[in-house]
Symmetry: C2
Subunit: 252 residues, 2 copies
Amino acid sequence: MTYCIGLLLNDGLVMMADTRTNAGVDNFSSFKKLHTLADTPGRQIFACTSGSLSMSQAVISLIKEGLPAAEDSDMIRTLDKCTTMFRIAQLVGEAVQVAGRTVGAALSAINISSSVSVLLGGRIGKGAPTLYLVYSAGNFIECKSEAPFLQIGETKYGKPILDRGIDLAMPLDEAVKVAFLSYDSAMRSNLGVARPIDMMVMPRDPKLPLLLRRIESDDDYFNHLSLRWAELLHEATFEIPNPPFMADLIGK
Amino acid sequence: MTYCIGLLLNDGLVMMADTRTNAGVDNFSSFKKLHTLADTPGRQIFACTSGSLSMSQAVISLIKEGLPAAEDSDMIRTLDKCTTMFRIAQLVGEAVQVAGRTVGAALSAINISSSVSVLLGGRIGKGAPTLYLVYSAGNFIECKSEAPFLQIGETKYGKPILDRGIDLAMPLDEAVKVAFLSYDSAMRSNLGVARPIDMMVMPRDPKLPLLLRRIESDDDYFNHLSLRWAELLHEATFEIPNPPFMADLIGK
């Protein structure tokens, strides 16, 4: 399993991916799922992958090494030749399709799921950051302000917290905190999601630096957040009155 | 979609089911999914169903009308002849299998999912209440004290709250409140779960009355709980400090 979040806010872009992979509970490991596709002054592109690990790695390698030339051209198509984020999303979608026709078909033949999905985020030049979700068929959607986050993988446990807590106008540090709370819920309910969590924060202001950080299993800030959140939820639950219509039943 | 919860606590049994059914977002309706199978002084049995509505209704009707006789007997098998809750769970599992062979096979033939699952709870005589989850293959598990709740349907959005908030030793009214919070999350994240919510509370003490109640779409207590929970979560999020490692990035 995997859990990845992408937030596209007024102040910038946040992408996170956990690192747990597993083929059954008796075979789990840790792999980086937040990939740097480009990080030069003019081009900062990142991808989080969810799904079959071999498919994910094939997709990332295809993107990095370049896709076969189109019929009407003799050029290997690579990321650095794409002039817009939309073109890059198309290239990633095509890499997903190519991997699906090769690795995916072999997996399907032995009834193993070969689906893979990708969160793709970044910026070209000094343009505003953008965020895409590329589905396993290679089609994709772009994140827009009406719903300022996208998720892939084990999305449901952590979605209620994002639904309530993420706001287009919030500062990036607060958004990262809410995303951590979402991870805390997902990790508590599914063993297939676990720290370390890799994160990338790209402020909208291109003069501000990019943050790449790994939140380790013993990260003090995350540990404190997790403990304090449990206490606060307990207090919040206690704060709400119990249903009045049950007073008779429990003999109060 | 559907969301049903069963809680088996020291103080008794709680079962809840929402009422929304849909065949696509353009075709939704409201059906009772918490069924009274028996409610006499010596036998109080309830079932919540999730999955195909026609399958669910077939299962409930089969249970109520009785299953065909076993090979070595000439009696139609009905609920009131079962002497233990385990036997009743077997009968329900068999009803699920019979419906699967008839209605289910017809649905599968046109690639429509026919899976159905059942939460079965109740007591015989003055025995302690028990709770079972009957899967779509007709096999079942019994709820035990290590994990005092079971869910069926759209389970994930509301599970983190149950994981944190449900405790074997808590009073029934507080447990109902936590279950409502779980519904609040599920309803916020999935349009396929909606009020009215039907609920049944069976105190462990057989001298105490059973509570059957419908929480309507305009229920004052639930509305207040939902609003207050949103406020409290917001306050709790605010209470946790933002990540210290982002101070530079956001220019604080």
